[in-house]
Symmetry: C2
Subunit: 137 residues, 2 copies
């Protein structure tokens, strides 16, 4: 009942890049140190983010990463999808998710509300939104 480690990292990385990229490119080294993410694991995540075209990279000395598109255009849900961590419509707490209105357990209706709220949260929150204020991200 929590986002997996990798997507947590990815969101924090993108958020930090969005906040700082006007000053300079963000190197893996800086990201790793500031965000406290193991360097080698971070670079692995970065290549995924590059391939998915969320960020673009500049190789060589003074290189680094910057967002490819406007931070406003990347939703948290987009990122989660990359790491198979988004919430599907049929997702059910008990891993069944195939019950209809005739046949449903006591949790079904109560689960719908928070599920929809979370889906909305993921879909409506952009990286820009998240990167705005301080917080320990």
């Amino acid at each position: 009942m929590q986002l997996n480690n990798t997507s947590q990292y990815a969101i924090r990385i993108l958020s930090y890049i969005a906040r700082k990229q006007d000053e300079h490119l963000l190197s893996a080294n800086e990201l790793s140190k500031i965000l406290n993410i193991p360097y080698k694991f971070l670079t692995k995540i970065m290549t995924k983010l590059v391939k998915a075209e969320f960020v673009e990279s500049v190789r060589g000395r003074d290189g680094g990463f910057r967002l490819k598109d406007d931070a406003q255009k990347i939703s948290v849900d987009d990122v989660l999808n990359l790491f198979n961590d988004s919430i599907k419509d049929e997702q059910c707490l008990l891993g069944i998710g195939a019950c209809d209105t005739q046949c449903k357990c006591a949790m079904h209706d109560q689960w719908m509300k928070p599920k929809l709220l979370i889906q909305k949260l993921f879909r409506k929150s952009s990286i820009k939104d998240i990167s705005k204020k301080g917080s320990k991200i």
Copy 2:
């Protein structure tokens, strides 16, 4: 962003026992077949449920399992706690959870609502509630 497999199994097991135990003890064999849970894995879960005193077991021929307490007294949250799958108050989508009101990210407030709803759902739903109606559990 989903309950882990083992707690899903556990909840479905307890729910099924609650629904059927007035008729007869539930053997691991029956539970495994009906609920479609690998037999050997199920027995492993059962011994945990026995040790946690959610169910009691009767050994030997015609043995099986029954709930130890009233199904009304066992909450879903109790079960989730046994499998480290409950939602802690400080649980945060980004694995930080240490931000205060002065310093919080854009997701913080939006995450609070669904989180509280889910915590409430887990704490207020008893095994009895879940076992009531049909569904594919």
